[in-house]
C-alpha cells in the first residue's frame, strides 16, 4: 500500500493491466477460453499494430499465452489468459474495488464534516477597459 498524503491508503495497481487497451483485451479474454486476433481487433477497436504490440507486452508479462496454428488453410492466432493472468486480473479488480471503496468513504466523510475555516473574502479585481 502506498500513501499519497499520509492518511489515504493507495493499493498497488498493476501497470501492465491498468493500461486501457490491455485492460480491454483482458476483459474479453476473461469472458472466454480463448479468442482470435480478428475478434480481439473488432471487439476492442484497436488497430492491428496496436493490438499486436499490446498482446506482445501481455505475453511477455506472462498474463496471456498466444498460439498460432493453421486452420482451414489460414493462420489462426489465438490468445488466452494464463492461470497467472487470471490471478493478476483478479488482484487488479480487488485493488480497484479497494481504491473505489476508500475514495467513496473519504468523500462521504468530507461531505458530512463541518466547515472549519471561513471562506476568504472575495477580492475585487477592477476590469480595465
Amino acid at each position: 500500500m502506498n500513501k499519497d498524503d499520509g492518511n489515504f491508503p493507495m493499493p498497488e495497481i498493476d501497470r501492465v493491466v491498468h493500461e486501457p487497451a490491455r485492460l480491454a483485451i483482458l476483459t474479453v479474454l476473461s469472458s472466454c477460453e480463448e479468442a482470435d486476433f480478428l475478434f480481439l481487433e473488432r471487439a476492442t477497436k484497436l488497430s492491428r499494430g496496436n493490438l499486436s504490440v499490446q498482446l506482445t507486452r501481455l505475453e511477455e508479462a506472462g498474463v496471456i499465452e498466444i498460439d498460432k496454428r493453421i486452420e482451414h488453410k489460414r493462420t489462426l492466432t489465438t490468445a488466452r489468459l494464463t492461470d497467472q493472468g487470471r490471478r493478476i486480473l483478479k488482484t487488479y479488480w480487488e485493488s480497484m474495488n479497494a481504491l473505489r471503496t476508500a475514495a467513496e468513504s473519504r468523500l462521504a466523510g468530507t461531505a458530512g464534516a463541518p466547515r472549519r475555516g471561513r471562506r476568504p473574502p472575495r477580492r475585487f479585481v477592477p476590469v480595465q477597459s
Binding site: T27, V28, S31, C32, A35, D36, L38, F39, K45, T78
Partner: protein
C-alpha cells in the same frame, strides 16, 4: 473528457463481456434464412396453386439443407468477426447442464446460452416430423409445435443476462414479447379464429425477427463508439 471516460469504463467492460460471452448466440443469420424460407413456403401453400406433397418435400429438403447452412454460416461469421472459444460447459445435454454443479450464479442463462448450436440442431431434428406434415394439411399438435419453437429459439433470449446497454435490454424485451405473442396466436388458432397457415406464418415471423435483431445487435456492439481514442 477524462470524467466521461471513467464513468463509461464499467459499461464498456460490461459490453465487452456480454459480446464475448454471447458471441455465438448473437449470430442471428445462422437460422434467419430458414425462417424466411419457411415463410415463403407458407405463403405459397396459402395461394393453393402448388401441390401439398411438393411443398411438404420442399420443407423436408429445406430442413436438411439448414444443417449445412448452420455450418457454413458459422464459417462465414468466423471469417468476418473472428473466433471465440467458450468455456467448456462440461456436459453436453442442456437439461443436465442447467443443473450442473459448476454452473455460475445464473446457471440457467449461462448453460443455455452456450448450447445455442445444440438447440438449433435439436430443433431441426425435431422439426423433420411436424413441419412437412403441416404442409400436407395434417393437424399436428400445434400447441406442442409452438412450445418447441419457444423453448429452442426464444426462451434462451428471455433468460439471457442483460447489461445497462439499451439495445441489449431490448433483446430480452423483444424475446419476452414474442413469447407472449406466440402464446396469444396459438390461442387464436386454438379457438379457430385463424387458419393453420396464417398461424404458421405468424409463428415463424417471431424467431425471424429475433434472429435479425441479434445480427444487428452483434454489428452494433462490434461497431459501437468504443473506439481506439478511448484507449489513448
Amino acid at each position: 473528457m477524462q470524467t466521461t471516460a471513467l464513468s463509461d469504463a464499467p459499461s464498456q467492460g460490461q459490453e465487452l463481456r456480454y459480446l464475448t460471452a454471447h458471441f455465438r448466440d448473437l449470430q442471428g443469420l445462422r437460422m434467419a434464412p430458414f425462417w424466411v424460407a419457411l415463410l415463403v413456403l407458407t405463403s405459397l401453400a396459402k395461394t393453393g396453386s402448388y401441390s401439398k406433397v411438393h411443398l411438404a418435400w420442399a420443407a423436408a429438403i429445406l430442413i436438411a439443407a439448414q444443417f449445412g447452412w448452420l455450418y457454413l454460416s458459422g464459417r462465414l461469421y468466423e471469417r468476418r468477426y473472428g473466433v471465440v472459444k467458450e468455456p467448456d460447459p462440461g456436459v453436453r445435454s442442456q437439461l443436465i447442464s442447467i443443473m450442473h454443479p459448476e454452473a455460475s450464479s445464473n446457471p440457467l442463462a449461462r448453460r443455455y446460452g452456450y448450447l445455442s448450436d445444440v438447440n438449433a440442431v435439436l430443433f431441426l431434428l425435431w422439426a423433420f416430423m411436424p413441419v412437412p406434415d403441416i404442409f400436407l394439411g395434417y393437424r399436428v399438435q400445434p400447441g406442442m409445435f409452438t412450445m418447441m419453437v419457444g423453448v429452442y429459439q426464444v426462451f434462451a433470449r428471455c433468460i439471457s443476462p442483460v447489461t445497462t446497454n439499451w439495445p441489449v435490454r431490448l433483446r430480452r424485451i423483444l424475446a419476452v414479447t414474442a413469447m407472449i405473442a406466440m402464446l396469444g396466436i396459438y390461442l387464436e388458432y386454438y379457438f379457430a379464429r385463424i387458419d393453420l397457415l396464417t398461424w404458421m406464418a405468424l409463428l415463424f415471423s417471431f424467431p425471424l425477427m429475433l434472429d435479425l435483431y441479434d445480427h444487428w445487435l452483434l454489428n452494433h456492439l462490434l461497431n459501437g463508439d468504443f473506439t481506439e481514442r478511448s484507449h489513448e
